[in-house]
Subunit: 492 residues, 3 copies
């Protein structure tokens, strides 16, 4: 009897060699203190969030407090905020024993990342050369959330296979690279990418895939029993999916120009996403012998989330072109194609990536972010190159492509070329940066889990005693078995 | 040993005859392609979402981009969007093995429905006769979401008993019928129904009940073991309940006239919902021997959701009158009555409907939507008929009841009559349309499940291997039993 | 065999003596009817939600319906509403068998509380002496939600140990006390407390702790087996945590003055919360032998929610000073300290409170609300006392501290003193009021659970038959054991 329970206990209490008791607190404290010092030196409230604003209103032709930009960005900001923390977080809860890691580490690195993003993006975009200060307002908060999204996408590729310390390092470098490529694409190339198809999704996707390629684990099958989902973990993942899907129109319209720009971006994204759902379901059903839908692909591999993720690909692909006059039916076509391609990706490309290229992509970010992001970049380049004054109107063309200042003489055709160039920059930064950061993460000092401990919350989290509870509920049966086993002997 | 495991497997792998591998993809592709073509022919951006808007601002007396209607409808739109996808979706996760079907099919049909609704409602309401085009903006997106809500309500009555193909057909016809009755009620009768008590809830409720009546399954008891809920599925259903409950003020105020109209509609709905919670709890507790509350009625039947659904009835009943001057205490009284009636409905009317009328109503939509919708219509008719210039003010009366154009000489008393007529139209369309659509759905070509496979996700979804996992965790015990059983013999 | 199953059944069907069948409905009905009468006598729509508004616009210098305050408060209101119902509700789902009680009773008392709060706060703040009426608009709804938050905080201390009737009584008195202390702090002392560090969190925290002290149960260990969490209940709690965390900037900015005030309050809270996450993770990891993170402290006690709750402490501590010019780095420092102190609180102060002071604090509200609230009050007092015209600007100083009317000559130094006085008032009301209300709740008429029935939904809820389902899944194994046990005998 005792041996038996001991055996159960041994079975459930696997060895761990992933003590992060000093590393993780050290990294958290050191970086948070650095943030405080850097914020103290550099960051101040911008004009609209400073208490002096009310005095300066007259100078800025503002007649009422309700013209503060806060009211025209904040609702979108909160939607984006929900996508970052609940959307990305719960999308990663699908693994049966990695829900804490999915949503909890997502929380940790997003909270760190947005501070560092405010600084990095501030230095490149909002630094006032005369005072040497970064002035932040609501638009900076949205951009910081966007920046962090790139790193959370990358997390999807390595979900379950890295330690929180590695994730912090990955985020530090990821945000840094993001800010640089964003500066090149938006400011130097002057490409338009309001919803970040290129800047966020192509970069984040390839950044994660390159890291996952460097960190490839040939013996990951040792934790295969934890690679699937369970019924409730899939339902949790559906929460993440839906909040991402619903709020994507806010994501793509959050930073576009006021008025028709935000309005159009929201409509385009909304339409694109609806048509993506139908083709995802169609391909998903076609690919199964009995036509069953696959919430998360569970049976044969961890190429996960066919339905939950592919429905989102339309939002990614609409990121660049959302503000353009792609027409409602154009948006539907983009979604139509994305649903097919993304689902096909889960069926054919992900297995190919793993077998041939040795890239294990836990959440299938290649199909949700990288590939749809590339499609989005191409769609953006084509629709920019074919824009015309008859469709946009003179002022509309200037607003949409921001043909002002140094760029006021640029043609739409040239703009198309710069859009394409922007996508290449994003891809180069993603792959190159990911390879280098991956190499850094290979150092055996970050407390990463052994192959057999992957996908297991028990490594970095105090997990409630479900197993032991189950264990404690077993004895009556064993007791009974024991009783029944012995009884005959006693009686006989 | 082997036999035993085989026996387990046989038990869990029941026969399925519901292959939708060709039907579902065919329907999805065909309809999505049709949508793209129709959108290409008919749908364009409206004035406020077109890039020309900035040039036309002066003509429209608009001085700043922040006057774009986007900013005064979009936050409400996003709340409504959350209600449609998370609210309705998670409200239907309560069945122990139908969470995927609840939230996933809800997702599919809503995504299809809003495209078709944009077209149907566009033809009736937004078609510009001079160009033959439908011009869409944020208000059209809200109305499309509203239209789909009618079909999702109907889904509640047949939850667990239909195939996704049937749901697509039901949505196609449902949206079509909705657009026609909406045109009759709002444009021809000129009734007011901002939150859709009649147009959405009465129509959707009776549409679903009539379909469920035609599709009645006398042997549904064969899947009785799957008709209940489990602890976590009820908690998931609570997510849906709360998001519906919280955002209902946005639902009822989303399309009312700007200014005091939206403001008042939100306040009335908020108050009505709070008082509905208290009477629901009271009746729920009174009806049990020991005063226990019933999250979802589980023990004896699937007349589900007593607490989760009845708390929402107040929002339904406030749909028509939300914008009227019903007074704060009037709103509380409506909620008070609705909580009682809706909970009573779960106790007495639903069993009566099933036993006597042979209508099986999985989610109890009669108590949540149909009946409270009728109450809402009556409240609306009475409060309209008794409106007075002293309470509304001259201009307020014109704004609230839109007494302009052809209707500028209508009296409030006549308005009350037209409100009542509107409710009858909604009911006739619901019952008549549902009976016809139900007959169509009886054709044996839609892949619907057998009686013993109802309420089971396993029919249309790849379900994670929970059962098999549990099975795999059994062997140690069996092993132990085996060992203990054999040991005495070995030793003796 | 039969005995065995009977034994299982006995084990799971524990005795209950907590019939609230008459008490709960009586309280609900009586109070709801009282609300309706009082609303009928006192409550009317305010200027901006009344149908006369459009006629009065010219008098109020309003040129367009989009200037209605609805548009500048409603998005924040909805965020706060989500925090109250989903945030607080799901934060309390962590107990393995008390998810219904956590989220359901939260729903009940919040729905009742906001009605009573509208009245109580109306009498003190919005009563028009000339008409004797309370005029309500969107800002009153936000304040009612705030008021209820105080009672929901208090619920956290007694979660699992009280009956719904006790909760209703606690809320009735809690809202009453809240309205009085709010009047004293905001109107008489003229302290600033936009996010309610003092009014909401200090009051609510100490109110709950005092009640829990009076209701101390020395034999609570009898329900120890239900004091922990399970894997999925922790994931549900994470939903609550994240919605609170994300929307806290809306909470602290919802009622501040328009323009830079709301803008700055949102930025400060956002920053404070991010830094709080990092120090919470750091201390949480440091405190464990192997550096594991603790989602909810489960193994040794119910001092729950280390990670889920402490990450929120920053929002609490920023409540008073959110609108002040604390600087971005100042906000980060407050979050830094709060994360450390709150996590330390779970480690050292909660056990001390229980052992020495006999206060059992189920959710650890001392660490999430009471202590961070005190920090927030102190931060507010210091930053107010050190405010200067150079930092705020003349008009900014007047706007921020509302130095108008009777208070136009107050110095910032005096303001600091009044802030500190405000915190003392909140604490006195919390401790004193809690002690008295606790004494009332000790009367043996409220149907509270026995010690061994605490933390068990089965007492007040119809719980789905999970256990019996499990029971029904056991027999095959027993059957098998039986078979294997008997077989040798049969064969031998």
């Amino acid at each position: 009897m005792t041996n038996c329970i001991q055996g159960f206990k041994d079975y459930f209490c696997r060895p761990k060699n992933t003590n992060v008791r000093l590393k993780l607190p050290f990294v958290c404290f050191a970086w948070q203190i650095a943030m405080i010092i850097l914020f103290g030196v550099f960051v101040r409230y911008n004009n609209e969030s400073d208490a002096h604003w009310v005095q300066n209103m007259a100078q800025n032709n503002i007649t009422s407090a309700i013209e503060n930009d806060f009211y025209y960005r904040y609702p979108s900001f909160q939607d984006v905020h929900v996508m970052i923390f609940v959307g990305f977080g719960f999308l990663m809860t699908f693994l049966k024993r990695y829900s804490f890691g999915g949503v909890g580490f997502n929380f940790l690195i997003a909270a760190f990342g947005i501070q560092w993003a405010l600084l990095m993006q501030g230095w490149f975009h909002s630094l006032d050369p005369s005072t040497g200060k970064i002035y932040i307002g609501i638009e900076n908060l949205i951009n910081a959330d966007f920046c962090v999204a790139g790193c959370l996408i990358a997390y999807g590729a390595v979900l379950g296979k890295v330690s929180p310390v590695q994730l912090m390092v990955m985020t530090l470098f990821g945000v840094t690279l993001y800010a640089v490529e964003e500066y090149i694409i938006l400011n130097l190339l002057h490409a338009i990418d309001a919803g970040g198809s290129m800047i966020i999704h192509v970069f984040g996707g390839y950044y994660g895939l390159a890291i996952s390629w460097v960190l490839y684990r040939p013996n990951l099958h040792q934790s295969k029993h934890l690679q699937g989902s369970v019924y409730h973990s899939d339902t949790f993942a559906m929460i993440g999916t839906l909040f991402l899907w619903m709020f994507w129109p806010s994501f793509n319209s959050a930073t576009t120009y006021h008025g028709d720009g935000q309005h159009r971006a929201a409509i385009n994204t909304y339409l694109c996403l609806t048509s993506c759902v139908l083709t995802t379901v169609a391909i998903s059903s076609l690919s199964q012998k009995t036509g069953k839908l696959d919430m998360v692909r569970t049976r044969h591999s961890t190429y996960a989330y066919r339905l939950t993720n592919s429905t989102l690909a339309g939002g990614v692909a609409m990121g660049t072109a959302a503000v353009f006059m792609v027409s409602p039916y154009g948006a539907l076509i983009v979604g139509f194609c994305c649903g097919i391609l993304s689902t096909m990706g889960y069926l054919y490309i992900s297995p190919f990536l793993e077998k041939t290229l040795k890239i294990h992509d836990t959440c299938g970010i290649h199909n949700l972010h990288a590939m749809p992001g590339v499609i989005g970049g191409i769609v953006g380049a084509i629709t920019a190159a074919t824009a015309s004054e008859s469709v946009y109107g003179m002022q509309g063309l200037i607003n949409t492509f921001d043909f002002t200042g140094n760029f006021k003489d640029r043609t739409v055709f040239a703009q198309g070329g710069y859009q394409a160039a922007g996508m290449c920059v994003a891809m180069v930064f993603g792959i190159g940066g990911g390879a280098i950061v991956g190499a850094i993460l290979r150092f055996p000092i970050w407390g990463d889990p052994a192959d057999e401990n992957c996908n297991d919350d028990d490594v970095y989290w105090e997990v409630p005693q479900d197993e032991e509870d189950q264990l404690e509920s077993v004895p009556p049966i064993l007791e009974y078995c024991n009783y029944m086993t012995n009884k005959p002997e006693d009686e006989s």
